[in-house]
């Protein structure tokens, strides 16, 4: 993106001399890889479904493969966003759907059942990665019922709210008297 946007840093501004540690974890890299994989697979399923069904001996299921492609792309986009945990869980669910669809094609009369078995193995492996990444990227927001510190004494008004309110009332009262002296726009 940066290469196309034609944005450059101004000469003379500070430059990095020594990089500090990143808070990014290996699991963030894994999530990113899974996101792009999801989008790639989704594009293949969406635009070349016949190729997929022929490889698996499941001709006639092209519409299903296309819909799975859309699902993969959506999950991939979500996995690459700040909501990566939701995207990864969507991928885990999708892996289940993929496995169910593949199992339905694993019949004795399917000449490509070897490919289906291989595909099932891949789905299983990727499902494990998805699950692991989903577990490790759980949002660290405190649960809704967690105990929180409250700040009931932080009014920000050293002289007290009542003093502020009464000062404001006095100013408003003075303003109202001025209105009575003839500012027609402000007379109710």
């Amino acid at each position: 993106m940066f290469h196309f946007s034609n944005i450059v840093r101004t000469k003379g501004d500070p430059k990095i001399v020594e990089g500090g540690p990143s808070l990014k974890q290996p699991v963030d890299q894994l999530a990113r890889a899974l996101g792009w994989f999801s989008i790639g697979l989704g594009v293949v399923e969406l635009f070349a479904p016949r190729r997929v069904t022929e490889t698996l001996g499941m001709e006639g299921h092209e519409t299903l493969v296309r819909s799975f492609g859309i699902r993969e792309i959506m999950a991939g986009i979500m996995t690459l966003s700040v909501e990566k945990n939701a995207g990864l869980w969507a991928r885990v669910g999708g892996d289940g759907l993929d496995a169910a669809a593949l199992l339905s094609g694993l019949t004795a009369d399917n000449p490509k059942k070897g490919n289906i078995a291989l595909a099932l193995l891949m789905v299983g492996g990727i499902a494990m990665l998805d699950y692991r990444a989903a577990q490790d990227t759980k949002p660290r927001r405190p649960p809704r019922d967690a105990r929180r510190k409250l700040y009931p004494n932080r009014s920000g008004f050293p002289k007290g709210i009542e003093s502020v309110r009464s000062a404001a009332r006095q100013i408003a009262h003075a303003g109202h008297n001025e209105v009575k002296q003839g500012d027609a726009r402000r007379v109710p």
Binding site: V17, L23, F157, K159, A172
Partner: protein, 391 residues
């Protein structure tokens, strides 16, 4: 020097970078004594605002001591002066600055060719806030170059702690401007969405400006408790209907004045389907902002009322109820803050003990812990409301 540097989405690091230097006669360099993480820094953390480059220094809430001045500062600043740095960089000389519209200064955005394309006309340069606003290095660092320093500063006296003064750089005048542009009358109810740092300042500002009733809307108990302490009646939108409660509290008429202190990243909830749709569209870049709060404000605001928007929006918002907005005769006022328009008055109020903005600080840590604090602040862990960093 050490500085918090943007490296990409959710990746801010404490790097060692070269020290800033005087580049223009109107520059000054300050040694930063305190800086803070702002809610709008989180939009950059999430990479929702375009125009960041890996290596950009973050931060636009900064204060410190002048250590070097350029030859063109004309005696307005000298070494040793203590200043708060407004987040908007201003020249003080252009037509807009002369009118007090400092956040749309016509001079200081050094990348105006980008901003002209995106916004139609460039706005002022901002510290640490994307190349659309000049790509100026920010103040979450040990030192900061202040361009146009003869105009871009707020001189502050010794004897008042940094914590009371730091927020003159952004959130205090931002909350104040949000309330001031509502033209508050003594009979008004002011409803404020979002009880983050700007929301908290807007609540206090509305009280100081004499609102009859202030209603604050959020879902986090710690923020609601702080809002209540500041004089607001609170609504928890996760457990109550905002529309019903606002109707109840205003005898069915709606609040006269509504303030959006949430902006483009409104809360996403299954019970609010528009927020789910906005989030999905935002992910596929079909919409840049999630304007749920704007929709709600337009719907509940009393006819003839004023909607004030200090919350940051970056680009395109869908499905705004313009029919209601037009037919109800509402007025919307928005904008980045014209910081220097308000700071003389606000500094006087701090000095007089009318208000102490340090109430909002919940975490003070060394600069090196900044990257972790971005996560803590984003995730609202440890009841975090406002983080101050000490270089």
């Amino acid at each position: 020097m050490k500085a918090l540097v943007w490296h990409g989405k959710e990746d801010i690091r404490c790097d060692t970078v070269t020290d800033p230097e005087i580049q223009d006669p109107r520059d000054a360099i300050i040694k930063v004594t305190s800086c803070a993480i702002c809610g709008s820094d989180l939009h950059l953390f999430h990479n929702f605002i375009p125009g960041m480059l890996p290596g950009d220094i973050m931060g636009h809430e900064t204060m410190g001591e002048v250590v070097e001045v350029g030859s063109g500062v004309d005696g307005k600043l000298k070494k040793g002066d203590r200043i708060v740095v407004p987040f908007t960089i201003i020249c003080g000389e252009c037509e807009q600055c002369k009118r007090g519209n400092f956040s749309v200064c016509e001079t200081t955005n050094r990348k105006r060719h980008l901003a002209d394309k995106v916004f139609g006309h460039a706005t002022a340069g901002l510290f640490g806030y994307t190349h659309l606003t000049g790509g100026y290095p920010g103040g979450q660092a040990e030192y900061l170059r202040v361009p146009y320093a003869d105009a871009t500063h707020i001189k502050v006296p010794a004897g008042i702690p940094d914590e009371q003064l730091l927020f003159l750089s952004d959130i205090f005048p931002t909350g104040w401007q949000a309330a001031a542009q509502c033209d508050i009358e003594p009979t008004d109810t002011v409803a404020i969405w979002g009880c983050g740092p700007v929301g908290q300042m807007a609540i206090r500002s509305a009280i100081l400006l004499g609102a009859n009733q202030v209603i604050a809307i959020d879902c986090l108990p710690e923020r609601l408790s702080m809002a209540e302490a500041g004089g607001a009646t609170t609504i928890n939108f996760e457990t109550e209907s905002v529309l019903e409660r606002l109707q109840e509290l205003t005898d069915g008429k709606g609040p006269e004045k509504c303030i959006d202190c949430v902006g483009m990243e409104s809360h996403v909830m299954a019970s609010l389907p528009d927020t789910l749709l906005d989030r999905a569209k935002q992910m596929v870049m079909a919409e840049s902002d999630r304007p749920h709060v704007l929709r709600e404000m337009i719907y509940v605001c009393r006819p003839g009322g004023i909607i004030s928007v200090p919350g940051v929006y970056s680009g395109l918002s869908d499905m705004l109820p313009m029919g209601a907005f037009m037919n109800k005769g509402l007025t919307m006022r928005t904008g980045q803050t014209h910081v220097n328009r308000w700071t003389d008055d606000l500094l006087r109020r701090i000095e007089d003990g009318e208000i102490d903005p340090s109430f909002v600080i919940t975490h003070t840590v060394p600069l090196e812990q900044g990257p972790e604090m971005y996560q803590v602040f984003r995730d609202k862990r440890d009841s975090c409301v406002k983080v101050v960093l000490k270089p």
